[in-house]
Symmetry: C2
Subunit: 252 residues, 2 copies
Amino acid sequence: MNLSPHHPRFLSLKTRDDLVKAVASGLVAPQGLIAQGRGEAFDYLIGERTMPTASIATLAAVALLLEAKSPVISVNGNAAALAGKEIVNLASTVSASIEVNLFHRTLDREKLIARHLKNFGAKEILGVGSAASKTIGGISSPRAKVDPNGIGKADVVLIPLEDGDRAQALENQGKRVIAIDLNPMSRTSQVASVTIVDNLVRAIPALIESSRKMKKLPQSQLEKYISSFNNERNLANAIEQIVQYLQGWIKN
Amino acid sequence: MNLSPHHPRFLSLKTRDDLVKAVASGLVAPQGLIAQGRGEAFDYLIGERTMPTASIATLAAVALLLEAKSPVISVNGNAAALAGKEIVNLASTVSASIEVNLFHRTLDREKLIARHLKNFGAKEILGVGSAASKTIGGISSPRAKVDPNGIGKADVVLIPLEDGDRAQALENQGKRVIAIDLNPMSRTSQVASVTIVDNLVRAIPALIESSRKMKKLPQSQLEKYISSFNNERNLANAIEQIVQYLQGWIKN
């Protein structure tokens, strides 16, 4: 790209260029760029930093992951492109499986994402091609197809960059959904058990760090993190922080 | 796209698909999809409807366009794809020139956009290739290049979907900038003379409608619309409306 490093938004433009390249290589669907834009807008509204409410949600999320019998991290193209290495690291830290689950599903992209994650050390990637043989009701997109050995039998599913449709369907199946979503008002955010309102590229490293510390905690303490967490209240606090940011722009 | 019309966001997803096709045809740069996503997020925050503050800005914008000696509408790929027909219609109504001005500039895309607009009846499209021979200072992107017969000599420039860099540079040159931008806090919004905080696909038809009515007004009345308009106050009102929307989400 013919862009001067003196442009005031150089870094942000650089990240965009990287994602555009991931589209060219087939890792990210073109629609993934639109999702990135939506995320950018909300990230801007939270000051492009991790809010205290996100840190609180991260602790509850880690407790859920560590307590889970069959935790699964669901990955799409954007998640793989933006935080592939970190997702593999997190999965290993909390002993979770990784499953590819795409809204704009093609076998080529599924394989590409699996290879991308394996390059970062992942041993097995679930949900590729015919492995996604189970159908979850209530989802009117190709995301309904899941791996019976992954999301199909999972009790906790971490879904970064999600659509509300599926988050609701998974919760309806009795699974606990952990969402990473920059929009605290999205259906995904509202229906998840734990919503981390933060940018994926900050949220996953924070999850890894907390997982390492909390692994040593007794079960009773992990359960306290879960029982004391109120997602509705936490989301309201996140919205309140955005309101405060916006009010700073209103000069009287 | 393999998507059920029962999906709760079917229409929004359909629009996204149309823009993805415009990328495939070369009309829109891939980065344009990211811009679309940012717009979507802010559109969501204003309730996906034209706010009263946008209607007030539209009146001031039309007065500026009708009063101008050499008004120019600057067009990029997204604007052409989303509202090409309406932009040609508006240009004809207010006797403005149309100039192609791209952030991700290629001669192919410039020609494609020009042809696209000519299909809708535009007679001349400025700024294509070597016609953009003048350089405007203070812009560290290919957008610095403008047509001496268009933006180069314009007194009023309508810039839908803009970057703040150029909006500032044009204002510094003594040109009055009319911005259409869904983010009331963006640099573009903040530095423009008149900012319409609205979705392009709603804003351009509203500009056409008001232009038709206001064309009959005497100059003194047009000048009143301009002198009574305060962009800073109007933007603060737009932000205030977003705050009210957000507060509706906070359940106590």
